[in-house]
Amino acid sequence: MSEIEIIGVRNRFLKDVRLRVSEGKTFVIVGPSGAGKTSLLRAIAGLEPHEGTIIVDGREIQRLPPHLREIGYVSQDLDLFPHLTLEGNLIIAMNRLRVTWNRKKQRARELMELLRIVPLAERYPSALSGGEKQRAALARVLASEPKILLLDEPLSKLDFRTARYLRSELLSLLNRLRVTAIFVTHNMEEAREMGDDLAVMTEGTLTHTGSPAELRLTDSCPGDSFLERPNILCPVHKEFSGNGIVKITWAGSRWYVPDEGREFTHVAVSPSRIDIGPKPPQGPSINRFTATVSSVHHSDDSVRLTVHVNGEALRVEITGERAQWLRPVPGDVVHGLVRLTAFEIM
């Protein structure tokens, strides 16, 4: 594997970005949407015009077209070729390698085994689930034998559980293959877990570069304003009703969560999927709560609150627009609702 150094890269969205990733390391860039993360990856891959120098293994590549840079890029949309099967997607990625057809088939098979997608070889991308597409895209980019791997929020479109599961798998894969990678995410937890080195990106430039340990991103750190940790609820009682719903008891009240036909210990809900208002919401009284606001934290385009429901803390994120109307202050009593589908069982 290789190392990459980026010196003074800038364009419409980027302001003098510099970073260095040594061989086999994973460099994670966290930042809110619109910070320029995708733009940076696209510039490195040669897909977006830029100034500045990009050096891979001592060789300047900034003037090369994308197909000669040997930089693998997995976009957020994955972009699996819809007219080719999974295997076809892998084989076409080996176009640059001067190997025989049989060798390509064999290597495609090895990669599919590595990512445990062999049974899906003949399927078209439209017939794959989110997690399967993710693995397929990873297998495909590895098939092209890139020197550097760029991953743009590869887990963002997956549900919480799949993302968490795939994350640990991806981590071990990157470690095992000693891939030099730049990984972009807006999820702090993901960043801490994945990165050997970590940087926060805001407004087109990297700030706060360091190892996860050096970069102790606490609640007061700018990097945390876009934190998307879900609330993890630990129910004290569960009742499988058998009609697609599990009734759980948490914070002294009853909550209905989806039944996926399996045992679980925790329930997750994203802060942005909790609705709160000044009055009790209308409709049936399922999954309603009354809470007291204990802290309010304003960020660029949203407001994060911590509320307490019968002594249990719940983090809630509302849009700036809604906050203007609600004007929450600590001590306020608010009424809330969590829709059944907002819960994910773990």
């Binding site: 197909h67 990625a93 640059r96 991308p125």
Partner: protein, 251 residues
């Protein structure tokens, strides 16, 4: 309203068939003139679509993917043959290829385009190419540029991206465009008449054969050629449906 349209369409077809008796029609269909016209029409229209596609598909790709100064003007200019009356296009081509302009120098090389089947080919290509370009451009524009970006970073050269990604993904729409262009070339009359003239057994395409034989009162051959044209049109419609319905799997 619908009934009126149906009656009209059926009426036209019935009127055509009723003009000749069965045996007469059959012998006209087998006549050397009908056969010549059919052969010439098929050869020329297929060649026109092929030439039009060879030029038009890459041009459409370029138009769909690149930004350059004056693109709008260029784009509009390409549409002109679509709205230009064929007769007018023919006159323009006649003057361009005639002795006054290109025709003079070409004649010195022994090349005579006007009043020859080559003229008919040029006329048909002129009307068919913009149709191919239009549909191919729309087809390329509908292909997600993300696939192209992915392909490039995987190491595919621009040419391979075109051949292995864009062309297959846009293929069905391009094929539809080619079929429509073929239909247009096959029925092309006005421009062909102007550039190639109407000479029996020389520039006699099916539409020209209909025209020549109606004017000289030989209704048998005229109807036979007309019916062959109608039959081909039906075949093209069928092919179009097939192309548009087939292969949705996986896309």
């Amino acid at each position: 309203m619908l009934a009126l349209v149906v009656v009209f369409v059926v009426g036209v077809l019935a009127a055509l068939v009723s003009q000749a008796s069965g045996p007469e029609l059959l012998s006209a269909l087998r006549s050397s003139e009908t056969m010549f016209a059919l052969r010439l029409s098929l050869t020329l229209s297929v060649a026109a679509v092929l030439v039009g596609s060879l030029v038009g598909v890459p041009a459409a790709y370029f138009l769909a993917r690149r930004e350059f100064r004056g693109k709008g003007v260029f784009d509009t200019l390409l549409d002109v043959p679509l709205v230009m009356p064929p007769l007018v296009a023919g006159v323009g081509l006649l003057f361009l290829l005639g002795r006054g302009m290109l025709g003079g120098p070409l004649a010195q090389w022994g090349i005579h385009l006007v009043l020859s089947p080559w003229g008919a080919l040029i006329a048909q290509t002129f009307v068919a190419t913009p149709i191919v370009i239009r549909s191919a451009k729309a087809a390329f524009e509908s292909v997600n540029p993300g696939y192209e970006a992915a392909a490039m970073t995987l190491g595919l050269s621009p040419w391979k991206v075109f051949v292995k990604i864009n062309l297959p993904l846009a293929g069905r729409s391009i094929a539809s465009g080619m079929i429509l262009a073929w239909g247009r070339a096959l029925g092309e009359f006005g421009a062909t008449l102007m550039v190639a003239g109407a000479t029996r057994f020389r520039t006699e395409t099916l539409p020209i054969a209909v025209y020549l034989n109606v004017s000289s009162g030989q209704l048998g051959v005229a109807v036979a050629c007309a019916l062959v044209l109608v039959g081909t049109a039906f075949f093209l419609l069928l092919a179009l449906r097939l192309v548009q319905h087939k292969g949705h799997v996986g896309l």
